[in-house]
Symmetry: C2
Subunit: 335 residues, 2 copies
DNA sequence: AATGTTTCATGAAACGTTTCGCAACAAACG
DNA sequence: CGTTTGTTGCGAAACGTTTCATGAAACATT
């Protein structure tokens, strides 16, 4: 009987199997080892219920098999989907996910970055709002929706095509004059392309077009002001509305309701993201769906890529349209 | 100029400050050190931009300042809330969160447990569905909603009171005959108390009571069967419905809708969890709200508790009722 | 049979901390 | 002034891996 107190180490396994320390290491890491040695070592590992100590491993090899994921929160369905899909993609490769919720707070974002810095994660995947985030230059770093500069790949939906698609849908559904709604500070970089795509789509389909950018503040007030501006003789002066996020669409529907207007009768609304209630539930509104699974997979692939030089600066993934009750789709399209 | 290649170590700081290794360690860990020494060391740390290597720390001290959190997913709003609040509570104490989404899969749950075992997390917080999970006995382990046995604290809402509250609300809102709906395998242990609380509440208020437990399978079919059973002469034979989760309430509303029934006109529904759309959005249905913030805080407190012997076997936290549009509350109660 | 070549297990050194026995020195005391 | 007590910085050892120089054994070549 030897020490039974703490967990067995490689040394214990080596002694048990009657081989050298290095041999055990090789077996554990799947490196070539003589067949009879391998068998003896594996038996010893089994017998002692040996588990490698990943902290010793991390110290020596500088690889930790963990990735930090920065997201504003988990309760916005889009972020929730991302968190879930990222966890899936990472788990598939036996990587762990350190989830950091930053609450849209640039300071918090930087603090998490600093925190994982001493934690020696193997990489960072971030959907952040601090344009000046300082990340160690040699740390593999991939962003979602934010282009941070050369050498830092950005993965995003095809926001431009999504905007275009929204315009086309509204046109197909019979709209003649449409509006675009977004909150000033809410979206930067890649998602901005939703606007130009939408504008372009309106142009192509000859839709009358108006835009409203809302500044920060109480959204309810801003929405009310916006709607009042466009409300004459008991009706809105537009018949289609594209909101830059499902969240926005959801919020403004409350206001429309309180004004006695009805969706999609009085106005058809398309959002962006593909937010659903319980994962498998219905969409919150008719929407341009972001492929969270593909986004997650791509992020993981890029952040784990060995040759940093081969990483593309920007990856755009295809979006799709989904009916969610806030448009008057032809019946066949209704699930 | 010394080696500029890799990150500075304590040794580098010690050399820079002209002190011994152990002194730097003490400063870093806030242990008592002579004032002039402290100043010199702090200056050196600042100058070299030194960061402790948490893997070396973890190897030596067996403390990693990270907690594994096991949840089925992040897209159910209740789980999403938990993930967010847990992250908050952990961050407050400078702990990191390893998020593991298990997808209700007992095998996956055990695999994650095994994985974090070699990762030497400082503790595990789990909302799991495997009744036979094997966790190292000396690993601090706290569950949510599942009582796993003595020595493993379970944190939950006051499910009994919640069930009771649901019955009282329905009675207050004028219901005379009520139904209780749950899916067979969906909830075990603590949440089961929602049923007995509800039954008791019905008894106290003299409500006619019927219950339906749905087995696994296509929920839509089961719901339809259930509703048809209680559908006579164009109307349901109950006027109040308590669903064991908001998800369930949400699903059955679809079916009710497809049968041409209207909520809350034809039947009033109360769910459980407090699911909201975008975190700050409205509730999905009238519901018994679980205090996810308090649950998270309690879990973290318990899992980090030094003296394991002092940990209570079960902690119940108070729930509250929230209006969500699926009940006919008196106007004053409407937000 | 002698030499050159390849293969592969060995075990020491190193990774960056924490910890602890020790020495150095100051203060207090007789 | 010599001794004791108390304080505090010092630096070696240890944590459990990975890696690499070493040399023994096995095989191939002439």
């Amino acid at each position: 009987m030897r020490k039974m107190s703490s967990a067995p180490t490689m040394k214990d396994v080596a002694r048990e199997a009657g081989v050298a320390l290095g041999t055990v290491s090789k077996v554990v890491n799947g490196l070539p080892v003589g067949e009879n040695y391998r068998i003896r070592v594996e038996a010893a590992i089994e017998k002692l219920d040996y588990q490698v100590n990943s902290y010793a491993q991390g110290l020596k090899s500088n690889r930790t098999y963990s990735i930090a994921v920065l997201l504003p929160n988990t309760f916005n369905p889009f972020f929730a989907d991302l968190a879930y899909q990222l966890n899936l993609s990472l788990q598939k490769r036996r990587y762990k996910m350190l989830l950091c919720c930053t609450g849209f707070n640039p300071t918090e974002e930087q603090e998490y970055i600093n925190m994982v810095r001493q934690n020696k994660v193997d990489g960072i995947i971030g959907l952040t709002y601090n344009p000046n985030l300082i990340v160690e230059p040699d740390m593999p770093y991939v962003t979602i929706d934010r282009y941070m500069g050369p050498g830092i790949p950005c993965v995003a939906s095809d926001n431009y095509a999504g905007g275009q698609m929204a315009a086309e849908k509204l046109a197909d559904l019979g709209c003649r004059k449409v509006a675009f709604l977004r909150i000033g500070s809410s979206l930067t970089n890649e998602p901005n392309k939703r606007r130009s795509g939408f504008e372009n789509g309106c142009l192509a389909r000859q839709l009358d077009y108006t835009m409203k950018i809302l500044d920060d503040g109480d959204p309810f007030d801003y929405f009310t002001d916006f709607l009042n501006e466009h409300f004459h003789n008991g009706r809105l002066d537009f018949d289609g509305l594209f909101c830059v996020t499902d969240n926005l669409a959801f919020q403004i529907m409350k206001v429309l309701e309180s004004m006695g207007l009805s969706v999609p009768k009085d106005v058809q609304i398309i959002g962006f993201d593909g937010a659903r209630m319980f994962g498998d539930g219905r969409y919150v509104c008719s929407t341009i769906v972001q492929p969270t699974d593909a986004i997650a997979e791509m992020c993981v692939e890029l952040v784990l890529m060995d040759n940093a030089a081969l990483r593309p600066p920007l990856v755009c993934l295809p979006v799709s349209y989904a009916y969610g009750g806030t448009t008057r789709d032809i019946p066949a399209a209704v699930p």
